[in-house]
C-alpha cells in the first residue's frame, strides 16, 4: 500500500485555542474594544496580550505537529507539541470515520474529520481533526477503499416524521433556553419576561377550558418541542444511505452536512423502533448500534429515518444478514389468562391514578381542575400503554438461533432487535410466582455493546426458551 500523509487545516489553530475562549480571548477582545472606545486600558491588558500571543504560538506549533499517515494497513496519528503522542491503529480496528462540514467549512474548504474506535470515550471522538476537504475525502477512500454502492434516499417527509417522533420538549429547553438567554443579553432585552407574558396572554383565551398554569406550561413545552423538531429535522434532512458490500455510509444535514462511514462487521445489532407518533403512521425507524460510533451517546446511527416494516426489510435484507428469513419464534400463548397478565400493569396503573386523583381532589379542592386535567392526561397515557401491552400479547416474539430476533416493547416504544448470536451480551430469564405456576418466563436479551440495546419478551414458555439456549449456547440451565 502506498504511503499517504495528511496534515491539518489552518482552521485547526482556532479549535486548539477554543478552550481559552472564555478565560482569555473574550476578556481580551472586550479590553481592546474598551481601549479603542474610551482610550483607557485596564491594568492587566498587557498581561492578557502576552498570554494571548503565547497561546496562539502554542496553538500554531500544535497545528504544525498534527500528522496523519496511512501505510501497511495502519493509520498513524501524530499530535502534540510539548507532550507528543503517536497512535498506531489497524485500519480494520477503525469503527467509523465521519466528515462534518458546516457553512464556515464550506467557505474555507475544510472539513471536520472524526475517527472512532471502540477504545474511545462514548461521547467524544477518538481523534477529531480539521482537515482540507479533499484530504479528508482521500483519507476516507484509503481507509475504506472503493467499492460498488447502492444509494437509497429518503424524503423530507420521512425525516420530518423522524424529527417529530424522536424530539422532546426537554431537548428543546436545553438547547433553546441558553440561546434565548444569550440573545437577550446581546440585545439588552428581558426576552424571558416577554416570552412568559406572551404565553400568558395566549393562555388566558383558553382559561375556560383548562387551568391557566396548565395552558402556560403546555405552550412553553410545545414551543420547546417545536425547537427540538426543527433542529432534528435540519440535522437529518437530505438523508441518504449508501450501502456497499462491506461498508455503510450515512449522509445527512442541510447547514451542517455530515457523512459517516462504518464497516458492516462493526454493527452490533439493528433496532426497529416505533414511537407513539410513528405508530399513528405505521412507520418504524431503523437504528444500528456500532462499537465506538461518533460522538453521540449510545453509539447509535440512524440508518432509516422512517419506513414501513415490510419495506425496510425488503430494501435492506440483502445488506444486513440479520434480516434474513428467521426460524419459527417463541410467542406468548393466546389464552385469556395470558392476555390478562399483559393487561395487569396498565390496569393497576389506572386504578392507582384514579385513587390518587380522588385523594388529591379531596385534600386540595382548590386545585381540582388542575388535578382533574393531570389525571385525565395520565389515564390517556395509561390507555396507550395498555394498547402497547395488548399488542405485545399478540406480536411479541423471541427467536434464538444463529440470528437472534426479539420483538417487544420498552415503555411505550415498540422495539424489534436483530443481532447475531455472538453479539449477545446477556440473556436474563425472570420467573415471577405467576410465571412459575404457568411455566412461563420473561426473557431479556441485552446486546454486547456500550449502548446495551435490549428487548424484554414476556410470558413465553420457559421450557422452550431453556431448550433453545441449550441448543445454541450449549449451556445447561
Amino acid at each position: 500500500m502506498i504511503k499517504r500523509t495528511f496534515g491539518a487545516h489552518p482552521l485547526m489553530i482556532l479549535r486548539l485555542m477554543k478552550p481559552y475562549l472564555f478565560v482569555l480571548i473574550l476578556p481580551l477582545i472586550r479590553a481592546v474594544v474598551q481601549f479603542l472606545r474610551q482610550g483607557r486600558a485596564n491594568g492587566i491588558l498587557s498581561l492578557e496580550i502576552t498570554a494571548f500571543v503565547a497561546i496562539t504560538a502554542v496553538a500554531i506549533f500544535r497545528f504544525r505537529c498534527i500528522l496523519l499517515s496511512i501505510s501497511n494497513n495502519r493509520l498513524t496519528v501524530n499530535k502534540g507539541f510539548i507532550f507528543r503522542s503517536r497512535s498506531v491503529i489497524e485500519i480494520s480496528r477503525i469503527s467509523s470515520v465521519s466528515i462534518r462540514r458546516g457553512p464556515i467549512d464550506a467557505i474555507f474548504g475544510s472539513a471536520d474529520c472524526s475517527i472512532n474506535t471502540e477504545a474511545g470515550r462514548p461521547t467524544k471522538p477518538d481523534f477529531r481533526i480539521k482537515m482540507r476537504l479533499e484530504e479528508a475525502e482521500r483519507l476516507f477512500s484509503l481507509v475504506y477503499g472503493q467499492e460498488k454502492t447502492t444509494v437509497i434516499k429518503f424524503s423530507a417527509l420521512r425525516v420530518a416524521l423522524l424529527a417529530a417522533a424522536t424530539s422532546s420538549a426537554a431537548t428543546g429547553l436545553v438547547i433553546g433556553v441558553p440561546i434565548a438567554n444569550g440573545a437577550a443579553k446581546l440585545l439588552g432585552v428581558a426576552l424571558s419576561d416577554m416570552v412568559i407574558s406572551g404565553a400568558q396572554r395566549i393562555s388566558e383565551q383558553f382559561n375556560m377550558f383548562f387551568p391557566l398554569t396548565v395552558n402556560i406550561i403546555t405552550l412553553l413545552l410545545v414551543a420547546a418541542y417545536g425547537i427540538s423538531v426543527i433542529i432534528t429535522f435540519f440535522k437529518h434532512v437530505k438523508f441518504k444511505l449508501i450501502t456497499g458490500q462491506s461498508r455503510i455510509e450515512v449522509q445527512s444535514g442541510l447547514f451542517v452536512r455530515k457523512r459517516t462511514v462504518f464497516k458492516k462487521h462493526s454493527v452490533n445489532n439493528i433496532c426497529l423502533q416505533q414511537t407513539s407518533l410513528m405508530r399513528a403512521f405505521q412507520m418504524f425507524s431503523m437504528r444500528v448500534s456500532i462499537g465506538g460510533y461518533g460522538d453521540s451517546r449510545g453509539e447509535k446511527a440512524v440508518i432509516v429515518p422512517a419506513g414501513r416494516h415490510n419495506e425496510l426489510k425488503e430494501r435492506l435484507k440483502t445488506h444486513f444478514p440479520f434480516f434474513r428469513a428467521k426460524q419459527e419464534g417463541i410467542k406468548p400463548l393466546r389464552t385469556k389468562t395470558n392476555i390478562s397478565r399483559f393487561l395487569l400493569l396498565p390496569t393497576v396503573f389506572a386504578m392507582a391514578i384514579i385513587s390518587l386523583m380522588l385523594m388529591a381532589m379531596i385534600i386540595f379542592p382548590f386545585f381540582d381542575r388542575l388535578i382533574l386535567f393531570v389525571g385525565i392526561v395520565l389515564l390517556c397515557v395509561d390507555l396507550y400503554y395498555g394498547s402497547i401491552c395488548l399488542r405485545d400479547s399478540k406480536r411479541s416474539e423471541l427467536v434464538l438461533g444463529e440470528q437472534i430476533f426479539a420483538a417487544g416493547s420498552i415503555g411505550v416504544t415498540v422495539r424489534e432487535l436483530y443481532c447475531s448470536r455472538n453479539r449477545v451480551g446477556s440473556i436474563k430469564i425472570t420467573e415471577t410466582p405467576a410465571d412459575r405456576r404457568l411455566h412461563t418466563c420473561k426473557t431479556k436479551i441485552v446486546v454486547r455493546s456500550e449502548s446495551a440495546d435490549s428487548v424484554r419478551v414476556k410470558n413465553i414458555s420457559l421450557t422452550t426458551v431453556l431448550e433453545k439456549i441449550r441448543e445454541i449456547y450449549n449451556v445447561e440451565v
Binding site: I82, R84, V88, I89, E90, S92, R93, E118, A119, S266
Partner: protein, 138 residues
C-alpha cells in the same frame, strides 16, 4: 519477548517526583514546619530513593503470542494482561524531558479500558507500537 526498564526511567521519575515533592514541602513547611520537615520530607525522600528504583527494577513488559502482560509493583504486585483480540490501538506519549532521555511511554487501548506502560527506551516503544498483533475485527 520481555522488555525491562533502563535506569534512565527511574531517574526520569525521580526528577519528576522531586519537583512535585519540593513544591509540596515548600507549601507544607510554610503552614507547619514540623509536619513539613518531619513527615512530608522523609516520605518524599523514601519514595524517590527507595520506592521508585525498586518499582522500576521489578517492572516488566512481556509480549507473548496472544497477549501483552505488564507486571509491576513493590508492596502489592499486579499483572495486567491484555489479549491481542481485545487490543484496539496503541499510543506512544513523550514529554520534552523524556524525549531528551530517549524514553517514551506507551498506552495500550482496548474497548473502554487501557494499560499505561511507563517510559521505556524509544526504540523498544516504537518496536512495540509497530509489532503488536492487532487482529482484524471478526
Amino acid at each position: 519477548m520481555t522488555f525491562s526498564y533502563p535506569k534512565r526511567t527511574a531517574l526520569l521519575w525521580q526528577i519528576r517526583i522531586s519537583a512535585i515533592s519540593a513544591l509540596l514541602c515548600a507549601v507544607t513547611v510554610r503552614l507547619s514546619v514540623v509536619i513539613g520537615l518531619c513527615l512530608i520530607a522523609p516520605i518524599c525522600l523514601a519514595v524517590i530513593f527507595i520506592y521508585l528504583p525498586l518499582y522500576f527494577k521489578g517492572c516488566t513488559v512481556t509480549i507473548t503470542e496472544c497477549a501483552v502482560c505488564v507486571s509491576r509493583g513493590v508492596i502489592i504486585k499486579t499483572t495486567h494482561i491484555m489479549p491481542f483480540p481485545r487490543l484496539i490501538f496503541a499510543e506512544s506519549v513523550t514529554t520534552p524531558l523524556a524525549a531528551s532521555m530517549r524514553l517514551k511511554g506507551v498506552v495500550l487501548r482496548a474497548s473502554r479500558a487501557f494499560i499505561v506502560i511507563p517510559e521505556m527506551k524509544s526504540a523498544d516503544a516504537d518496536f512495540l507500537l509497530c509489532n503488536l498483533k492487532v487482529k482484524p475485527n471478526d
